[in-house]
Amino acid sequence: MNMATTDSSMVRFGRFLRDNPVIPLLAFLVLMIAVLEVIRPGIVTPFRAGRDGLISTFWVGNLIKFAIPLAMLAACQVLTMLTAGIDLSAGIVATVAAFVCATLSSIWGPVPAVLIAMSMGLVVGVVNGIGVGVVRVHPLIMTLGTGLIATGCMQVYQRLVINAGSEIPAVLSWLGTGRTLSMPNGLFLFVPFALFVFWLMRFTGFGRLLFALGSNENAAKLSGVRAWQVYVALYALSGLIAALAGLLYLGMIRQTSLSLASPLLLPSVAAAVIGGTSIFGGRGSFAGAIVGALIIRVLDTMLTLMQMPEGARTMLFGLIILTVTAIYVRITGSR
């Protein structure tokens, strides 16, 4: 019996969108950019003569530049959401990594600073993984808690190094602010990173297991998968990615602060959800999340142009997450 024929066209259309989220998302991105062009003519058009043209290339480059750290944090969310989890400590981990790196590089030089910063991400990630995988605390609560502790640790640390001053490793500045052919240098980091995530999700046993755990943990168990191993590795990886994103962001902003990357957390969740990743696990695409990050950046520009207050922005992102999830539940009839 072919079950597909009994589905309504609505369900089939929904399924198509779910299977290929990037196509409608790209269309949506283009539409939004077009709207932006209407609101502020000339902002996008790259080939206009004269000064305007320069500005517009600048804008596209900027759009991509600021979408990169967001997309990297969205990778944390995509990977954890594949297993029906989430990583709410990602924003803080990124901040901690950036702060540690900036302060240590003036003392010990850039290489140890970067390594220690990354290991901070690893430590938080492993703790998350143990809490989620072994003790089985809900990932939301667990990552929220470790985020809280990490913030405290950072504040203590700040008082210890208050006189040390800060320095941003040259390579990070180059990645963060430099441009090659009017495209941001961050792509030199991001393109290999994105390829790595694609590879991980598509072509490795580990990637398979992420999808498997999110689709049906019981089935995975039945097939001999020890879930806790996967969770610990996953959250450790997520911590590393978050730390890397923090370092890149540091090079971009060129300033240290105790809440550097925290404002990126909510948009990163939104980017993953917009990109077709199901918060209930088993379905997700990093390509979608990248487009989602771009969409959010365009949306940001739009809201800024419309002089939307900060509150409305936060509200909107919350509503986007809720609406997309609710639509997903409606279309698939599943959780």
Binding site: H138, M142, G145, G152, T314, I321, A326, V329
Partner: protein
């Protein structure tokens, strides 16, 4: 009699722990007295209300991640209103607002069939945004008598702040707990299928429980406004603290078991721990770390215990 003790063993243990901690405080700082107790109780106010609200939704089998944001909305609303009108109507409006926000949370959960944890995560941001829209930066004012009401002690040896917690929780919770609705809340959290088969309107019960949570958040917002004298739109650190206090207070994540007394005593315990650390001259930031570790530890232990119970 032995039955009552058995049922309340956990709460009794918490009371004993609280007492031990108080004695310990006194030992560390012999001058710790009524005024010290008062400041602990005052600082505990918003935590206690956040925890009470969280406890109700956890009992019904859900969780509400948006408590801190709802409190922020209520605090700024109170501060803005009290600049313009008398205290009492403002308080009533804020309480109504909290209730409605809670009902919206619950309604969305029941109607969209999206799990509570996801809905309230999204609503966390929505309410945070609403608070920022009402008041972009800290401001407004709080009625003077409200600020004074949480200070001092009218009843001897009982700080007013503590009396207010007791009164507000008692007025909302005790009649509810005794009613059929209260039983339905426990029934829904304990075993949704059995509750449905026993004729409980499960969806409606959940929505009401979230409404009650919102109302407690309104109390929490009012206490924030009276503590600071202004409205602060950025949500405070109440989410993790309330989850930890709820678990420590003997309410089982997953629903059906526990009450409000245990969690509120747990809040006091967590506050006293903070006081002790401060008295020991521990760096306040280190205190935050220790507190955070305690909270995460409590939640982990609670989850592990629940899982073991379920396996049995």
């Amino acid at each position: 009699m032995s039955d009552i003790i058995k049922k309340n063993a956990w709460v009794a243990g918490l009371v004993a722990l609280l007492f031990v901690l108080l004695v310990l405080t006194k030992a560390i700082q012999p001058s710790f007295g009524m005024s010290g107790l008062e400041s602990v109780a005052r600082a505990a106010l918003p935590f206690a209300f956040a925890t009470a609200g969280m406890a109700v939704v956890v009992i019904v089998g859900g969780i509400d991640l948006s408590v801190a944001s709802m409190m922020a909305v209520c605090a700024v609303t109170a501060a803005v209103l009290m600049e313009r009108m008398a205290g009492v109507p403002a308080i009533l409006i804020v309480l109504g607002l909290g209730f409605v926000m809670g009902l919206i949370n619950g309604g969305l959960i029941v109607l969209t069939r999206v799990p509570d944890i996801v809905v309230t995560l999204a609503m966390l941001f929505v309410w945070e945004g609403v608070a920022l829209l009402i008041l972009e930066s800290p401001g407004g004012a709080t009625t003077e008598w409200l600020k004074q009401s949480i200070r001092g002690s009218v009843i001897p040896f009982v700080p007013n702040a503590l009396a207010i917690i007791a009164l507000c929780v008692a007025v909302v919770w005790i009649p509810l707990r005794r009613s059929k609705l209260g039983i339905s809340i426990y029934a829904t959290g304990s075993d949704e299928l059995a509750a449905f088969r026993s004729g409980v309107a499960v969806g409606r019960t959940k929505i009401v429980a979230y409404g009650v949570c919102g109302m407690f958040c309104a109390f929490g917002g009012l206490s924030l406004a009276s503590l600071t004298g202004i409205g602060e739109p950025v949500p405070g650190p109440y989410l993790m603290a309330s989850v930890a206090a709820v678990v420590l207070g003997g309410v089982v994540l997953g629903g059906g078991r526990g009450g409000l007394l245990g969690p509120i005593i747990a809040v006091l315990i967590l506050r006293i721990v903070r006081t002790i650390l401060t008295l020991l001259a521990v760096d306040p930031n280190v205190t935050t770390i220790i507190e955070g570790t305690i909270m995460v530890g409590v939640v982990m232990l609670g989850t592990a215990a629940t899982l073991r119970g379920a396996r049995k």
